[in-house]
Amino acid sequence: MLAASGKLDRRELCRALLDDRGDMLVIAGLGAPAWDITAVGDRAENFPLWGGMGGAAMIGLGLALAQPARKVLVITGDGEMLMGVGSLATIAVQRPANLSIVVQDNEHYGETGMQETHTKHGVDLVGMAKSAGFPRTMLVTRPEEVPALRAAIHEGGGPLFAVAKVDASSLPLVLPPREGSYLQARMREAVLGPAAHHQL
């Protein structure tokens, strides 16, 4: 699971976290996290974002509040999380036990020319989540720590916030569907059944 840099391979990490995921719902932030969950396997329970930068965690909150019996996982990047960092406070106050947020932190803006993000310069997202009041936080840097992260996501008892330091190299693009109404309708149908399209 380690890249040549000695850091975690983001896609292998993603594969491990999503292994045997059951009916877990997954939101992926725009860019590499969306390609990563799609590389593991595109499915109705995935909601990969093409935009809305800074909103992934809050989409996870709205979904987790609406479906308290299901696990909701947000996988996003450090740049995306930094843009919506205030949502850490909002989510900590709401305290949804079924929501987990995993930041795949490569310390760069990967889609725009690999400019450095604040995490490259010491900004500690785990510390910020802890200070906001997240009851569970984790920092993952080694493959042997990944099973504990996967277990914590599946246990509930959250909200959970985790940062996994990942290798910064770009991997082959695996693009999800781009038709937004399809992405939304398929997840609603996965959650609500056929009534999703008839309930009004």
Binding site: G51, M58, L61, A64, Q67
Partner: protein, 183 residues
């Protein structure tokens, strides 16, 4: 119309915040996202007192747009309450509603609109409707107390029946201009 009817209608019109609360109940709204505004204070109190509603206080209004996206994915209806200045904070996030065809009703109390005292409120207040419409939001205004409830009802229906962002702008003439004691 005799004077007594006039007075009772005026009282009823002044109760529009309670009318909005009743509307949210009628429409089955479960998630109420907000950054507070004085004009929404009474409605916010009613929502906080309701155990069937989840009030989500935000650090910035764009969080509310993303929250409504998630709520709809999970089969719940939500609404976003904010002041006109907060509309500016939502603009890029509104891409979600257009991209995914997501119902996103907003109830906006206006500043910088009618008798404003604070010069800093005027630029965004003046631009509120234009920028919402530029992002594909269907906008209706209510400038008289008796128009507030029917207009919000219409924009909530438009959001959920036709799958788009909608907004009612409640004019400052309805709410009254804040004068910082300098009347």
């Amino acid at each position: 119309m005799d004077q007594r009817t006039d007075e009772s209608q005026t009282r009823a019109a002044a109760d529009w915040p309670d009318g909005l609360y009743d509307l949210l109940k009628t429409h089955g709204i479960r998630q109420v996202a907000l950054v507070p505004d004085a004009g929404h204070a009474r409605l916010i109190r009613r929502c906080l007192a309701d155990n069937e509603m989840r009030v989500v206080s935000l650090t910035t209004e764009e969080e509310g747009i993303a929250l409504l996206q998630g709520a709809w994915l999970g089969g719940e209806k939500g609404v976003l309450l904010m002041q006109s200045s907060g509309v500016g904070n939502c603009i890029n996030m509104l891409s979600l509603a257009i991209m995914h065809r997501t119902p996103m009703p907003m109830i906006v109390t206006m500043r910088g609109d009618f008798g404003e005292f604070n010069p800093a409120q005027v630029p965004m207040g003046n631009a509120t409707q234009t920028v919402l419409e530029a992002m594909g939001t269907l906008v209706r205004r209510a400038d008289r107390p008796e128009d507030v409830v029917p207009t919000v009802d219409a924009t909530i229906r438009l959001a959920f029946n036709t799958f788009r962002p909608t907004a009612t702008l409640i004019g400052q003439r309805v709410i009254g201009a804040k004068t910082f004691g300098k009347d």
